[in-house]
């Protein structure tokens, strides 16, 4: 019995040390990555880097203003596609929806969330690039926007579900219509 207890204590210490080592290794690697990025990237960061166009290969200086503007444009257009559909779809799931239809939409949103980004890229390619015959910010935005939809739907729904029923009842008691109290819960 005594040996068994010693053995159990030994297992206790060994296993917890192992989890500690796991934590040390994983968090160490992750900290290393963050540190490496800040250390090497930080020294190259300057105002010119952000505001100048790239110079031809071989010349020193230059920046990446075009890429930053491109990212901003892309993000803006993508949000125009993804946020309204995702947000309003989430409102529907949380406030109006029936059981079966919501389950289908939820499942599809999860499925869409798991679709690899490269497949979204191909989708945008076939829908925008093939008919228009050239690559464009529009195509990129469509791909990004579609990727935004499931994330926006599920987080909107989750957020609205945490709104207490009392708030809705209060709004209805004040004779607001359904869609306005939907707006109230949106404040959460």
């Amino acid at each position: 019995m005594r040996w068994r207890n010693i053995w159990r204590k030994l297992v206790n210490y060994v296993m917890f040390s192992l989890t500690g080592i796991c934590a040390l290794i994983t968090v160490g690697v992750l900290f290393f990555i963050l540190g490496y990025l800040i250390w090497h990237g930080g020294s190259a960061l300057s105002w010119t880097f952000l505001t100048h166009l790239p110079t031809p290969v071989g010349e020193t200086g230059g920046g990446m203003a075009n890429a930053i503007v491109g990212s901003a444009k892309l993000l803006l257009l993508a949000s125009l596609v993804g946020v309204p559909i995702g947000f309003l779809g989430g409102v529907y799931l949380a406030e109006f929806g029936g059981q079966a239809f919501c389950a289908v939409v939820r499942y599809t949103a999860d499925l869409l969330n798991g679709v690899p980004s490269i497949v979204m890229g191909i989708f945008a390619f076939t829908v925008v690039v093939l008919p228009m015959k050239h690559f464009s910010t529009l195509a990129g935005s469509l791909a990004l926007g579609v990727m935004m939809i499931p994330i926006a739907v599920r987080s909107t729904e989750e957020a609205l579900r945490t709104v207490p029923m009392m708030l809705r009842e209060g709004a209805l008691a004040l004779q607001m219509e359904d869609h306005r109290h939907g707006g109230c819960s949106g404040g959460a």
Binding site: R8, T26, S117, V153
Partner: protein
């Protein structure tokens, strides 16, 4: 409703119609319909996605049929394509990533939730979640500049010396290859596993731990036999999330996997994954057959993620029924 006389029912219908009109006027029904439209468009988008991939891969589907999945040649010049090396590469790198990331991540999550002081645990989790948001191309760059040289000079020679009798660890050490792909993926998915698993472990009620300790269990026994089984569904969900990410990961893998459409037993050998070959060759593919073959590869990848997603759901549902904390 059977007992209600007809005039009353008719009145009810009338009232409902007038309610509908009134609702439309005040905006209530409008809001309902409009949000319904948005919700339905999610279904439409997904259907459009599948439809587009399907009709735009007609050429190779007719030419190769199901042999596409078993073919091992990849010859764009003569228009002969087989997808097996890419499916193999995708599955091997993802499996390797999970093999490394799951024990490490779950172990770290147990440490952070059970042993580490709350302040340290919270600070570490903040950084870990920050890293989950780092774009994959950055992991790819670090993979090329740091990990690949390290693997070539130290990692792979070491594995060859110690485990070289296995066919997995034979052959020349290039640095780039399946092993590098698996390592990069492991580093990328570890933050997911740690942060989700830690959350579910922390959510296990403290009474469960106290009950186990009161019965004389050591802390490890209470953790491993009570807390972890209680949280297993959440941990499983985090693993499947990581698997989905690993299967579809594009840039980081493309940069370190070596880009060779070949199947070899050695993990040191360069390979290719589905996402990587699409990213690499899509922009410079010439001819309809070549482009459509790459689109069909996208369809294969899509099908793969759906199958994995479905299996994950079935697994989670079946284990929930057996009874657990959720």
């Amino acid at each position: 409703m059977a007992g209600i006389p007809i005039p009353t029912r008719r009145a009810a219908v009338n009232r409902r119609t007038s309610e509908f009109v009134q609702g439309l006027r005040s905006g209530d029904t409008f809001a309902h319909l409009f949000t319904l439209l948005c919700a339905a468009s999610i279904l439409l988008v997904t259907a459009a996605l599948v439809h587009q991939l399907y009709i735009n891969s007609a050429l190779p589907r007719h030419k190769f049929g199901f042999h596409f999945l078993t073919g091992r040649t990849w010859d764009p010049v003569n228009g002969d394509f087989g997808a097996l090396p890419f499916v193999y590469g995708t599955l091997v790198t993802s499996a390797l990533a999970l093999l490394i990331a799951v024990p490490m991540g779950v172990g770290a999550a147990i440490f952070l939730s059970e042993l580490a002081p709350p302040r340290i645990s919270n600070a570490m989790t903040f950084v870990i979640e920050l890293l989950a948001a780092v774009p994959s191309v950055i992991y790819g760059l670090l993979g090329i500049f740091i990990m690949v040289p390290f693997l070539r000079q130290y990692g792979e020679p070491f594995l060859k010396r110690t485990l070289g009798f296995l066919p997995l660890f034979q052959g020349p050490a290039y640095g780039v290859g399946m092993l590098a792909g698996g390592f990069v993926l492991a580093i990328m998915v570890v933050p997911f596993i740690i942060s989700v698993s830690r959350d579910v472990l922390m959510a296990v009620p403290v009474e469960q731990r106290e009950a186990a300790l009161a019965l004389g269990a050591t802390k490890w026994e209470s953790t491993w036999q009570v807390v972890v089984p209680f949280a297993r569904i959440g941990i499983m969900a985090s693993i499947f999330l990581s698997l989905a990410r690993a299967l579809g990961e594009t840039m980081a893998v493309t940069m370190v996997i070596g880009g060779t459409p070949a199947i070899s037993a050695s993990l040191f050998a360069p390979g290719y994954s589905i996402a990587a070959v699409i990213a690499d060759q899509f922009a410079e593919a010439t001819g309809d057959l070549y482009v459509q073959t790459l689109i069909e590869l996208g369809l294969v990848l899509f099908a793969l993620t759906i199958v994995i997603n479905g299996l994950a759901r079935i697994f989670i549902i079946s284990t929930t029924k057996k009874g657990s904390g959720h």
